[in-house]
């Protein structure tokens, strides 16, 4: 007899060693299959009987899916099954890469805890599809491209097109997320990530921001992405555009935050964890603090 919470429902297990093999299994079993990466999400969902697949397909032993690689000019490529701790360790040993993708580093190194980061993968974090997933805002910030494969071929999408809402992805049952590619950010850019985690362990409002060339209105760029407060991650381009106006960058912040508010207000989540009003306010406060922090870091450098 198996009871929920204490035991898992029965399933078959496959551990393909190539991508092709994994895709064939997915094509064969379709909705009866579930992909297992780190298992942090899938196993807890199975314990709670939220899902009961006929077969679990473990993708961790496929070398191609474990890649972590930075190439100058091309950017950072992360295999979907690269573990969170492997990615942050790679960045720690390549500080230049860490600084280029600082917002991603800050988000990943604060996911859950040490033990979970040693299992959870970037692809699993993306595919768990809950609003608070910490990878979302930074991936939107860096214009990440997601490579999706099936036996029929490959396609490319973005995080904001891929994640539709809680538990809802643009992913067919026979498809697999293969890799995440982050193109090189603008030269000399700074970025950061911030989240609000109340007594529950998940963020209710997350912001990622990037600033490049703050002084020159023609070349400067500010990027803002939000998640956790909204059902799916959003690049707030309406607010980003404000920084293209003439004038001192500092004087544009208030107008940009107003634009952010009007652009996303209708989408903000209201639930027992946090009111929509609180979430929106926390997005603004964090955007403000991040902006100051990033600008300060430019100033410090110029001495």
């Amino acid at each position: 007899m198996s009871s929920p919470y204490a035991t898992l429902p029965e399933f078959e297990y496959a551990r393909p060693s190539t991508l092709e093999e994994a895709l064939k299994l997915l094509a064969k079993y379709g909705e009866e299959a579930k992909v297992l990466a780190g298992g942090v999400g899938l196993i807890t969902f199975m314990l709670e009987r939220l899902v009961s697949p006929r077969i679990v397909i473990d993708i961790k032993k496929i070398p191609e899916l474990r890649r972590i690689e930075y190439t100058e000019g091309k950017g950072l490529v992360l295999g979907a099954a690269a573990r969170i701790s492997e990615i942050t360790r790679y960045m720690d040993s390549n500080p230049r890469v860490r600084e280029k993708y600082r917002a991603l580093y800050e988000a990943l190194s604060r996911i859950a805890d040490l033990q979970i980061r040693n299992r959870a993968t970037i692809g699993g974090n993306i595919c768990e599809a809950l609003p608070f997933m910490d990878s979302y805002a930074p991936l939107a910030l860096f214009d990440a491209k997601l490579r999706i494969a099936s036996v029929e071929g490959e396609r490319e999408t973005t995080i904001t097109d891929f994640v539709k809402g809680p538990g809802f992805l643009d992913l067919a049952p026979n498809e697999l997320l293969v890799s995440i590619e982050l193109p090189d950010p603008p030269r000399e850019s700074r970025s950061g990530f911030s989240k609000i985690v109340p007594a529950i362990e998940y963020s209710v409002a997350s912001v990622a921001m990037l600033v490049a060339n703050p002084v020159d209105p023609r070349s400067r760029e500010v990027r803002i992405a939000v998640s956790a407060a909204t059902p799916a991650p959003i690049r707030v381009r309406e607010a980003e555009e404000v920084f293209r106006r003439e004038g001192d960058i500092v004087d544009l912040l208030d107008a940009a935050l107003d634009r952010m508010t009007s652009a996303i207000k209708e989408l903000v989540i209201e639930d027992p964890y946090a009111s929509a009003e609180y979430r929106l306010e926390m997005l603004k406060v964090q955007a403000y603090i991040l902006f100051k922090r990033l600008l300060d870091s430019f100033l410090q450098e110029r001495g």
Binding site: D58, Q115, R119
Partner: protein, 154 residues
């Protein structure tokens, strides 16, 4: 399915069902009863083991996933029945009261104390995945830092 792994230094081979959890196999099938489950869902850290040198929560890992790995449970750190330097440090610093959380903290603690370098802040942050309802954590942090000094001498 057949699983082969090294547990606390000993090669083991065991037949498991794909849906058996690693924590259950280690505890119930291999008799490592110091390893315990508290929350059964990845939150409390009580079931922490070292898998290929890294602390992980064994209640959310399938036994089949551990095939080919090297595992240490809390049983694996004492030598000839003598407590390890970290375990001694837990006793000296009163790193436990009721003792319920101790199997988890010893495993993460051994991992942290044996690092070449570690700061107090890092210890605090790294212990955040393991929950203690009694000590208030200070004694646990102290115990890990003190053991770290000893391991560094070795």
């Amino acid at each position: 399915m057949k699983v082969r792994f090294k547990v606390n230094g000993v090669e083991r081979e065991i037949e498991v069902e794909p849906y058996e959890l690693l924590a259950d196999v280690l505890r119930e099938r291999l008799g490592l009863k110091a390893l315990k489950k508290g929350c059964w869902r990845g939150e409390c850290g009580l079931c922490t083991i070292l898998m290929d040198g890294e602390p992980v929560k064994s209640c959310i890992i399938l036994a089949v996933e551990a095939d080919g790995s090297e595992i240490y449970t809390v049983e694996g750190f004492s030598e000839d029945g003598r407590p390890s330097p970290l375990q001694e440090s837990f006793i000296r610093n009163a790193g436990l009261q009721c003792g319920f959380c101790t199997p988890g903290f010893i495993v993460v603690g051994e991992y942290l104390a044996r690092k070449p370098r570690i700061s107090k802040e890092e210890v605090k942050y790294a212990l955040s995945g393991t929950i203690c309802r009694c000590t208030g954590y200070k004694q646990i942090v102290d115990a890990v830092l003190e053991a770290h000094q000893e391991y560094r001498k070795e």
